[in-house]
Symmetry: C3
Subunit: 273 residues, 3 copies
């Protein structure tokens, strides 16, 4: 099932416009290419809407945000909505500063997002009226684990319902939900937290997956999250002696490059609630 | 012959000022270091002219362009021309937006470029009065192949003549031409399209090659294009099991690092028309 | 001794706010993660002070500087000083342009830095009233070597005393000094100069090391410089056939990821004067 979604990405080769941060842009571009998609990065307001119109899907990632980039995001988001292009929001650093949080809230008011993908800290900062954040990583006491899985699943479903979108929250266990259904995904490994921008890369991948499968956004999002986890596991298996987080970073992208639908379906580990 | 040109890069160690995009800047810097050159990235108009004056050659790459970067490019281009430093233009995304296309046209009016290196879509968008583009990759129906090679060679020569510069168009077959002569280069492999910024890296390499060989710009450009292709082939040979486009990206730069003149001359596969 | 300092980084996991250049930001983030620290990149004046306040230490790296980034640095530096967070300056490109040099001088006037880490060209441009620079790499005739080691050590100590800070100058031999004491470090290998941003990465590492060991800034800085050199040596040992500077870049970060205190203490090669 997830394998079929991957197959569509490989064959439809969606062009994805990414307005994203400079820290992880290169990895996002390479993981999009690995998936079969094609990345286009452009983030100045003078051209962003035109670039969006040329592409098939749009990713807005708020890392290293600034007022110019925000302005480009607003223009691109508007045109993507008009053209019915799938749009993903990765609210990097939500809650870490007033500017970041308010800018993201502005995007949420003006643009309809098909998927919002973040860590639990970011999602709670935006939708649960919490006030603290410790940068871009999820506060560990706020993580999704077996003991709070049912509670968290209900929370994410409630947010998805309120926002009328798909919410993907990644952590030890990942939850992808719309108002009706939630996927709980148990792929991945802890070393992925040691790669900068593994979340950014997942958001880029998600944009390609939903753009190539626009008729099933929830399932395509769960498939992207699951693919990232599966590729993390494969990367770990293939890690050579002395390789650390830099080698691992390359191996995740390489695993996406080689992932076939059959392996994907075999390794996918999720439940639907 | 091409080996001798590489040898000059290794021994003259040109300092290259790159005004380039943030997506591939790191790879451009590392491939310059691999070639024997030395990269300096600086893109604010407050200092770009001074940085250019300190260096030996200049690269203007229009990926993730914005008005500030454009202003820095104009200042740097002017001073490079005054100082007779070689200047390369990589018109990334030409045709993809009005702002991008018009900015590049402005650069073309104000600055004399020794080499313009792009894909066919970009070159046609600038010089053939075509209006469509699908981002930064060449439209496949517009690619250079055996069946249209002679026609394309004449087209590139004609543009080179009109623009009074060297034009390098990369694709399945690469063409590097001035008004009199064209190199058709058959090195490289299709996997290079799966590495973000392989074109950007080639443009950086080209700047180092022509800066170290200013008395033979056409041949040095053809040599850089050929070196990139040869290194793509070597990278593919050395690709280990499970390595994909991320590992391949590293192996291309590593191949440039190790390339010696003898191997280069042996693997170079080109014709002159 | 150095091993204990590394141990503190691994266990205290300092959050480091980096205002840095886009060329090497990804590598800086990954080397921070490899060390046990946690990177947060944010460089717009609208939020930089708040991000600094959330973190434990601050790095200001002046690569690809522009007026907006400078403004963010000034705000972040001020709040870091108020909160007594350790602050590191990497004056990339000092001396290469008036804008760069004057901006760095402004930072030096307004902000108290715990450590200033650069190459000899940059340090001399800032503190020895020299006027020439050839970009970001140290002029080779100005390098630290056995024959001028005693003279250079005294120079660095004098600058450290005048500036009331710790100065770390990296080259063939590295010198880390405050007004009273100097560490001369003989780890590392020449291939590190072939990796773009190895200096930037070291500055990021230094920020994590001093932030986790605020009671011994000099020793922690020397430890970071030594760790980078040791990891360069380990990376070189593990370099596989055909790997060049791109593979080497990954292996340095991977070596930081795996470095244990015992190996570190065994390989550390330094003298104290």
């Amino acid at each position: 099932m997830f394998g079929e979604i991957l197959y569509q990405v490989r064959s439809r080769k969606p062009h994805i416009h990414c307005i994203t941060n400079y820290v992880t842009a290169n990895d996002c571009a390479n993981i999009l290419l690995a998936s079969g998609g094609s990345p286009i990065m452009a983030d100045c307001p003078e051209e962003s809407a035109e670039i969006t119109a040329l592409c098939d899907g749009l990713l807005l990632n708020t890392g290293t945000l600034n007022p110019e980039k925000l302005s480009a995001m607003r223009k691109s988001g508007r045109i993507a909505n008009e053209l019915h292009h799938p749009v993903v929001l990765d609210p990097v650093g939500a809650g870490a500063s007033r500017f970041r949080t308010e800018s993201i809230r502005l995007l949420l008011r003006e643009i309809r997002f098909d998927v919002i993908r973040g860590n639990l800290t970011e999602i709670k900062a935006l939708f649960c009226h919490e006030t603290h954040s410790h940068g871009v990583d999820a506060v560990s006491s706020d993580s999704i684990a077996e003991e709070n899985l049912s509670e968290m699943t209900n929370l994410i479903k409630a947010i998805a319902s309120e926002q009328n979108t798909v919410i993907a929250v990644t952590g030890q266990i990942d939850i992808v939900a719309d108002k009706n259904q939630a996927y709980c995904i148990r792929n991945g490994c802890s070393m992925m937290k040691k790669v900068t921008g593994s979340g950014c890369q997942l958001s880029a991948l998600t944009t390609a997956f939903i753009t190539a499968n626009p008729e099933k956004i929830l399932e395509a999002t769960a498939s992207a999250v699951c693919a990232m986890g599966v590729c993390g596991e494969i990367a770990l298996e293939h890690l050579a002696p002395y390789e650390g987080n830099a080698g691992f970073r390359n191996r995740i992208i390489d695993a996406v490059y080689h992932l076939d639908s059959e392996t994907f379906d075999k390794k996918a580990n999720y439940q639907i609630f």
